[in-house]
Symmetry: C2
Subunit: 621 residues, 2 copies
């Protein structure tokens, strides 16, 4: 077995209460790496086409990577994947913290959950062993309570818990999986899949540090990071969300359901304000000095419990500006509720924003909202609605289905306010500003998603990020508004690397460049791997995720943006420009051709063979 892995994957059949261990060979590990790669592999290989994502035939995969748990910053993460109940396609999300590292220390590289438990259970994984335990007493509990009880009953305060709250139990389609109460595998509704399996939590504890091939080299790279705080001090000082006003000026901040450009009090939501007013410190992930995660404590008008951490940029924008809300405490409370209930902050915020726009356009009435005045900017209403979603209460029950299904149920033209791609709500970076990002949203296998994408659009200019991209052969900047072939090429290369990051489970905030990351993988595994091989892993997994969606029936028309982005914002920076659908269509074709997909976006046999996954070709008929 290669260094860096345990060589063991837990397989838990919840229906039969059977636990077994897979022992894949070295080539499996090197070809699929971990995280999103494992998810793509198992979903394609083991799922029958077109199963119900909330039925027992779906599988839920938790996976780490080769460096996860090693003594080097940025490697405590894990990935969670399944067929998505939100998109009915490829579902996968990553999460920071400690859980991934703990899983590795407990002796496993991944866990595959199959079937459905008869009644609520949780899995207890510890030092090479695993046990399905009753969770009847935990069901219905907030994540905070559940974690406390699990740690108490197992008698170890250092147990790491990945779990769902009542939102996941109630199958909110965008429920997330919460680690350590505040870190979320947020997108694509993995928490709902967990709920559908009657699986409340996965508690892990391990004492075995895995062996790496070159511990000295890892130390050297860790030392480089520590000695270069300039490269990460932005994250250390404020975490995400420290440029809210600039984002308004640039047009990047979504405002009132992606409609408007004006937002006068953005500073109220800024990470600097949080630091000054309500922060009680910063939290870390495993072995990381960056400590980028805000912890906030508020006593009134809402009590916000610091065990649930604090809001990241995506929460500040989705629950804040995109709902027209500039009340920071309200946003922190809503963020806390999301973490208590295990709701994805992006989809939750977007769904509330959608409902607000419906309400203001008389598509939703006071009767339907249960009397809640769901106007943009009503902080109290926003917080109430988030809680209703978590409980599937009243209108919350409809909104818990996500904007696409909610709009279909509501009818009356609500569909035009449902800002999603493939059923997944759009994250907090404006496609009207960064055109490559928009194309990325349109094509991403998980629906609108910013972790597979060129989210900062910085191929537009020469800056440190751009200089790094030269390592991939992107030698000249392309203007942000451009969507020509050179931009598409840059997007593809960046996406492939992002997908690799999602598979290695390396944090994308850390400043290591492509060469250093490759050195890290080499030091962990002992493989003579290269940026070439790793980029091809990214391309392989991107293409496998694509193939999964093709098999599920997705077509070219699903690779498209919501109509709203083809029109300018009503005001502000992007009030005179929008995505040009003709150019988007052309860029989409270019993307397909560059990827070796046919004109309908279906990977060609030759491309699948070139990516060494010929077995996938047979699935595409």
């Amino acid at each position: 077995m290669a260094f860096g892995y345990n060589g063991k994957i837990l397989r838990v059949d919840l229906s039969r209460e059977k636990i077994s261990i897979d022992s894949p060979d070295d080539v499996f590990y090197r070809r699929y790496i971990g995280g999103e790669g494992f998810v793509a592999y198992f979903l394609l290989k083991e799922l029958k086409p077109c199963v119900d994502p909330l039925g027992p035939e779906n599988k839920l995969i938790f996976a780490a990577g080769p460096v996860t748990g090693a003594s080097i910053p940025g490697n405590g993460r894990n990935s969670v994947g399944a067929k998505s109940p939100l998109t009915e396609g490829f579902g996968e999300a990553e999460v920071g913290g400690y859980w991934g590292a703990e899983l590795k220390h407990a002796g496993f590289d991944a866990i595959i959950f199959e079937g459905k438990a008869e009644s609520p259970v949780y899995l207890w994984v510890h030092d090479g062993e695993a046990e399905i335990r009753d969770a009847g007493h935990l069901w219905g509990k907030d994540t905070g309570d559940a974690q406390r009880i699990i740690r108490e009953e197992l008698g170890d305060k250092l147990i790491r818990v990945a779990q769902i709250g009542p939102g996941g139990e109630r199958l909110v389609r965008y429920a997330c999986v919460i680690n350590d109460l505040h870190d979320a595998a947020g997108r694509t509704g993995m928490g709902a899949v967990m709920g559908s399996k009657n699986l409340k939590a996965v508690a892990v504890r391990g004492h075995e540090r895995g062996k790496v091939a070159d511990a000295e080299k890892l130390k050297e790279l860790a030392r480089w990071l520590i000695q270069n705080p300039k490269t990460w001090s932005w994250a250390h000082d404020l975490g995400t969300g420290g440029a809210m006003e600039a984002f308004v000026e640039l047009g990047n901040l979504p405002i009132r359901n992606f409609r408007d450009g004006d937002f006068s009090n953005a500073v109220a939501l800024d990470a600097r304000t949080i630091k000054d007013m309500i922060s009680i410190g910063m939290e870390s992930c495993y072995a990381c000095p960056v400590r980028c995660k805000k912890v906030v404590k508020i006593e009134e008008p809402w009590r916000v419990d610091p065990v649930y951490g604090g809001p990241e940029y995506e929460a500040l924008a989705a629950l804040g500006s995109n709902c027209g809300v500039d009340d920071l405490k309200a946003v922190c409370k809503a963020n806390e509720i999301c973490n208590r209930y295990s709701l994805d902050v992006i989809s939750t915020g977007d769904t509330v924003a959608f409902a607000m726009e419906c309400y203001e356009n008389d598509i939703l009435t006071d009767t339907e909202t249960g009397g809640v005045k769901l106007n943009f900017g009503n902080a109290q209403a926003m917080v109430q609605m988030v809680e209703k979603i978590g409980r599937r209460e009243g209108l919350g029950d409809i909104l818990a289905e996500g904007v696409k299904r909610a709009a279909e149920k509501i009818g009356r033209g609500a569909e035009r306010f449902a800002i999603h791609v493939k059923g997944q709500e759009v994250p907090m970076h404006e496609p009207r500003r960064s055109r490559a990002l928009g194309l990325g949203y349109a094509i991403s296998p998980t629906g609108a998603d910013h972790v597979h994408n060129l989210h900062d659009g910085s191929v537009a200019s020469r800056n440190p990020y751009f200089e790094k991209l030269a390592a991939l052969g992107i030698l000249e900047p392309v203007p942000r508004e451009n969507l020509g072939p050179r931009k598409v090429r840059a997007l593809i290369y960046v996406v492939d690397w992002c997908v690799l990051d999602n598979s290695l489970l390396m944090c994308c905030f850390l400043p290591w460049d492509h060469i250093q990351k490759t050195e890290i993988v080499r030091a962990a595994t002992g493989w003579n791997t290269t940026v070439w091989e790793l980029m091809k892993v990214g391309e392989r997994i991107t293409t496998m995720a694509r193939a999964f969606n093709v098999r599920e029936g997705f077509t070219k028309k699903d690779d498209w943006l919501p109509e709203r982005f083809f029109h300018p914002k009503t005001s502000g920076a992007l009030s005179e420009t929008a995505v040009d659908p003709t150019k988007l269509e052309k860029a989409r074709s270019t993307y397909y051709e560059m990827m070796g997909w046919d004109e309908n976006g279906v990977p060609t046999k030759g491309k699948l063979e070139e990516l060494d996954v010929a077995w996938v070709a047979h699935m595409l008929g």
Copy 2:
């Protein structure tokens, strides 16, 4: 300007006797690297479609790479390119020695020759300057005499001369360019292009060591090589050609025009025999401790002058076994004549073998051979015929056209003995043995060529070469006789890297792996380059060469092997197996699809854009 380059490319208009200097920008250098890359760029960019390769509209490019001339072994090489008079397509060959390093030290990265001199000239390049000089007194001279005279008249014994002998002057279609009298840019007839331009020689001398970004790192890598002689001692001890008997047993050695498998006295041609009997030492290339180049001295029955070096494996097989000749001294003499006259040993040997088979089948008569008994195995006849080719004397005049054109002229069914791809004679590794090699011969833009290819077929087994390939993601060996998708994939990756080597001008005999080579480029240039970027350079150049041929009218049917290889050898190791044309056709389609070429082998627009050479797409209509 990046480290590693001079930033200057000489442009010599021979018609107008005008010399100018191009100063490309950094991005040009990084995108096209050097050598074959520069050739592909200038041929596509500057040649009108379908020009006469022997007319003044053809251009002849001499090019070095970023590391050429730096103090590290394996980097004295240069590339020579033009539209090929042999194939009428993409022409390019590389050559070892000192000339490339000297060009860099003289202040230039490449030279582009345009037009045609009115009367014979040579170019004298020295320390940033260049001068067109009369060569009337050199024309008709053997390379040895010409070099001596040039050095004498310029007063410097250390001048390096790349030149043609009488074979190039007389436009033998497979004339080569000879450096230092014994190193040949052998394939595709670059010497004939030189002759057609009335250009006898390019003499260079320079005293300026270019600056590299990280001299310490280069030293460290050079030190690694010197301290690991086990990785190159095979080349140091014997050079090429030390396994002739094993090659007979494996079926790899071409025997009697690729017809037979038996060759009883292969040991007579072996490098070990040369070492024991006629070697007077080994020659080196610039800054290289390996010294892999044999020097032989013979007094009788032929005088072989050691200034012309000695035979490599390709010469031993082409002029020896492939002509049925086991007379080592005769082979050494023929090799010397090739170097005197500037003839490619492979094409020369193959052409003589072709004539022998014609003769034995009564297609050529004694009248036509001028009384030479041109039977397989007649050493004397072989030597005579090589000289006749160099002089274009009698039958030699027809054979000087290469087997394809000679067969057309001779008629009478001679075509079935003309073993070539796209007009270029097949090199000395058996496609019936290594199926990927055969596919490589068929598709190579230069016609049958082993320096763009998987010439040792070692993807078949786990050995040190194979272990290196894991760095490219080739994780499992594929049997040698297999021609399925995984073999095609391996071939493509290996070809892309070979083409990169041809562009970097790094010797492929040196044991550095992909990671070390990338470190060398990084240390030379200061770029944050990676194996990904470099592989993409290889893919870019492969595709550009393809595009050149498409523009010149080549089609899918040109990507094919001679009929002979679809039948077993008459005897020996491969007497019961041959290339299966159905499998070859399928593999060709797979190759196209994997490369992003359409079903006719034409690069798609998307692929060209992905390779950042969108400008090429416009040329393909």
